[in-house]
């Protein structure tokens, strides 16, 4: 949901009048996974984890710029590039990682849909299958453009977190201090949360999606600067909104010792602003954000996998023309929806767990990115400079260290 939708978003921004395109782009970047994770973090840890948002923003910008640059310079999608440079075995591995990552994110989006439904007293056994069919039809019937506008519009309801954060009267001094003061609690819960926070902000799927959309647009190297500005702005807004979600949930829920165990808990953080309408507002926003991502994820996953293996692909190709593309796309939706229907599934916890898993898988994807972006045969003179390599290798290294620390602590039974 980033810069490629610029033109469209600008049009919607103009309709809304008061919202700039960047704001909406950023808001749309925070999907069900992001909302649930940020809200849980605010409720459980208060402002303690705010300091991570600074480094994450830098990492997000750097990683997205690298991927955008690869799209511009090579004119190829990420999956295709992996295939061409690393061969069949490595691309099979990369696609497996992508499939796992993206199916879990799709699960998170359907969990978001279920959660939104339950705020309106619609049981998930009705909302999830219904919306699975809607998502499937949106793409097949090619009415995606209109649907996307509606979802973006709905998800802007989540911008109210910004207002809610102010009205909750947080101690801004405290917020400011927490933003710049690193803290570290050596326990498994904290580490897990840290990984989930990174995993939801920098998702593997986003990297594939961004490169594909930029290469499909055919941006010239000369016009790359404009693309980079969009990427930076979009990244900044994603994390700024994340900060406000954390602040508003910290100021309302954390102070009262309430954890986000159910969607209505996350909605309560909007009460300072919306009062009795908090549930409605949160429900609509969550629904829009979830549907937006749910209608893009299965499609772009099928697109990437088929691109890597050279199978026929495209939304308008029939089942007989593109059997693998169509079955993959349909299966992703069906499996994710079915998973969410497991009786008694704790939605918020499942969403956060999927983001954690994405955080674990991210280093693998980042290593592919770094190998490619530093390859002179691929990038010519547009390889990474030292600062980019330090930041991105650093991010990768830290994530791997966190994973190892978690493994060790769970094996030793600490935390």
């Amino acid at each position: 949901m980033r810069p490629d939708h610029w033109r469209r978003l600008r049009a919607i921004g103009a309709i809304l009048g008061f919202l700039g395109p960047g704001v909406i782009t950023g808001a749309a970047g925070d999907d069900a996974g992001g909302i649930a994770t940020y809200a849980s973090i605010g409720a459980q840890y208060g402002y303690t984890l705010l300091w991570v948002m600074g480094p994450i923003t830098i990492a997000l910008i750097v990683v997205q710029i690298m991927v955008a640059r690869m799209g511009v310079v090579t004119g190829k999608g990420f999956a295709e590039l992996i295939r061409e440079e690393f061969g069949v075995k490595w691309s099979a591995f990369a696609m497996l990682v992508l499939l796992i990552a993206n199916s879990t994110v799709t699960v998170a989006e359907f969990a978001g849909i279920a959660a939104a439904g339950e705020l309106f007293n619609i049981p998930r056994i009705i909302s999830v299958p219904l919306m699975a069919v809607v998502v499937w039809l949106i793409v097949v019937r090619a009415s995606y453009t209109v649907a996307e506008k509606i979802f973006i519009l709905l998800s802007t309801a989540l911008l109210t977190y910004v207002g809610a954060a102010f009205l909750a009267n947080p101690d801004w001094g405290d917020v400011g201090r927490s933003l710049v003061t690193p803290s570290f609690i050596p326990e498994a819960g904290y580490l897990t949360t840290l990984v989930a926070l990174v995993g939801t902000t920098i998702t593997p799927y986003m990297l594939f999606y961004l490169q594909s959309s930029i290469s499909d647009k055919g941006v010239r190297v000369a016009d790359y600067a404009a693309e980079r500005t969009d990427v930076v702005l979009g990244s900044l807004l994603t994390t700024v909104i994340a900060v406000f979600i954390i602040v508003s949930t910290a100021a309302t829920l954390h102070t009262e010792g309430i954890l986000v165990n159910a969607p209505e808990d996350a909605a309560r953080a909007l009460e300072p602003l919306a009062g009795p309408y908090a549930r409605v507002l949160f429900g609509l926003g969550l629904f829009g954000a979830s549907m937006l991502a749910a209608s893009v994820l299965p499609l772009s996953t099928a697109y990437a996998v088929c691109g890597a293996f050279g199978w026929e692909r495209g939304v308008s190709r029939s089942w007989s023309e593109a059997p693998i593309f169509n079955s993959l796309y349909t299966a992703l939706i069906a499996i994710a929806a079915a998973f969410v229907l497991i009786p008694g599934l704790p939605l918020i916890q499942v969403i956060v767990a999927t983001q954690f898993l994405n955080g674990l898988l991210l280093p693998i994807v980042l290593i592919f990115v770094l190998r490619l972006v530093n390859d002179r045969d691929v990038m010519g003179k547009h390889t990474n400079n030292r600062a980019f390599n330090v930041i991105s290798y650093g991010t990768t290294g830290i994530l791997i260290l966190l994973t190892i620390a978690l493994l060790v602590s769970s094996v030793l039974g600490i935390g």
Binding site: T74, E80, V88, A142, D216, G218, R220
Partner: protein
């Protein structure tokens, strides 16, 4: 028959049987139908990659590669022509299947030996999923289960590689087979290719062929192709396009860029396009083309045929001849057939139809499409407020209005839909 993927990474032995290097790549000339492998790129245990001529090695059927001399004594092959590096540029990359009119990914390449002189020739491209599975190492597992992988190969002769030649020098491959395809087929191919390769393919087509193909791709792709082309070339291609299609593209470009391209186009063509640009996209004016054949009512049928011959030379489609007075006002119409069968000396004014089906500049495009469908005409004349003929809307453009979006969006570009 051997697979290139099985040779890549294979150990290379010296005459004493010691492994001294591994195979990195195979080089073939880019322009032959079934090119002979000319050289091998080897990575010694220590040191830089060395390219050796094919004659310096012996390849057994089981894939064992051995050198006739020590690697240090083996002559180096100097690439002299346009060579393709099979592993770096073809294997795992996209190629164009000219017969199948599609873009496919190379899962493997087949080489076969010629017993007479011991040379190996590149014969086929494996594009099957069986080829993928074999490279994943699943062949043995499946074989144990009794499943045999049958590769599906297309002849090397029937494909066009898309990657550039040796050392990053643009190949300028003839793409002769490609140029022979129907513009719609070329459009189908370029809409499946990676962006950079599209431009390489377009560079090998002449302006007219490129224009015909670009007219057939999705509006998004049209825009990005024209935007990313050298301005001179873009202007040349726009000139060759029908004015209404050119106007559609220019209308979506940034105004400065559109002005720049218009100023590079020939004056007449540019004027037509400029006029079309002034109309609303959704109106008859926005849909119409200015390529119209007109004759005066006083001309005889014979003279009129001469006029048609002059005017129609540069037009793509001519269905009707329109009769206009000195003030360009539309008086009547007749089909080409009616013109040809008319008595040569008859004035046109006497054989033309006077009950005219026409559209107005500010009619909606849906209205225009409806009229064309209702009256079953191949083209509809469009007139202004005072009845002057300003252009025609042809049936193919009207069809785009009526047919649902998903039919037009047959191109697999989910990311760039706007």
């Amino acid at each position: 028959m051997q697979y290139v993927s099985e040779l890549i990474g294979a150990p290379v032995r010296d005459p004493a049987g010691r492994v001294v290097a591994r195979v990195v790549d195979l080089l073939v000339p880019a322009d032959a139908d079934y090119p002979a492998v000319e050289a091998l790129s080897l990575k010694p245990r220590k040191g830089d990659t060395q390219i050796v001529p094919w004659s310096a090695v012996r390849v057994l059927d089981n894939g064992a590669v051995s050198l006739f001399m020590q690697l240090s004594d083996t002559p180096t092959f100097v690439p002299s022509r346009n060579e393709l590096s099979l592993a770096r540029q073809v294997l795992d990359h996209q190629i164009i299947d000219v017969n199948g009119v599609r873009v496919v990914r190379v899962n493997d390449l087949q080489i076969a030996s010629t017993p007479s002189d011991g040379s190996y020739h590149l014969v086929g491209v494996d594009i099957s999923t069986a080829g993928l599975l074999r490279r994943l190492g699943a062949g043995r597992v499946l074989g144990a289960l009794g499943v045999r992988l049958t590769p599906k190969a297309i002849a090397w002769e029937d494909i066009e590689p898309v990657e550039s030649g040796t050392a990053g020098v643009k190949l300028k491959m003839a793409h002769e087979d490609l140029a022979k395809l129907h513009p719609s087929d070329i459009a189908e191919i370029i809409s499946q290719l990676d962006q950079h390769h599209v431009h390489e393919v377009l560079e090998t087509l002449d302006d007219e062929a490129a224009a015909d193909a670009i007219q057939e791709v999705s509006p998004d792709l049209q825009l990005s192709l024209i935007r990313n082309m050298e301005p001179e070339r873009a202007a040349d291609i726009l000139e060759e396009m029908e004015p209404d299609d050119a106007a559609d593209i220019l209308g979506d470009l940034e105004p400065e860029r559109a002005q720049d391209l218009l100023s590079r186009m020939e004056a007449d063509e540019a004027d037509d396009v400029r006029e079309l640009l002034t109309y609303d996209d959704d109106s008859a004016g926005g849909l119409m083309t200015t390529d119209v054949v007109t004759v005066p009512p006083t001309a005889t049928a014979d003279e009129a045929i001469g006029l048609v011959r002059q005017q129609a030379a540069a037009m793509d489609n001519v269905y009707y001849v329109y009769v206009v007075d000195e003030g360009e006002r539309l008086l009547g119409v007749l089909s080409l057939r009616e013109l040809i069968v008319a008595e040569p000396s008859t004035p046109i004014g006497r054989v033309m139809h006077r009950e005219l089906i026409r559209g107005r500049l500010d009619d909606s495009k849906e209205e225009v499409a409806r009229i064309i469908a209702k009256y079953n005409v191949l083209a509809l004349p469009i007139v202004d407020d005072v009845g002057r003929l300003r252009g025609i809307v042809t049936v193919d453009d009207a069809m785009d209005v009526i047919l649902p979006d998903d039919w037009k969006a047959r191109l697999p570009r989910i990311y760039s839909r706007t």
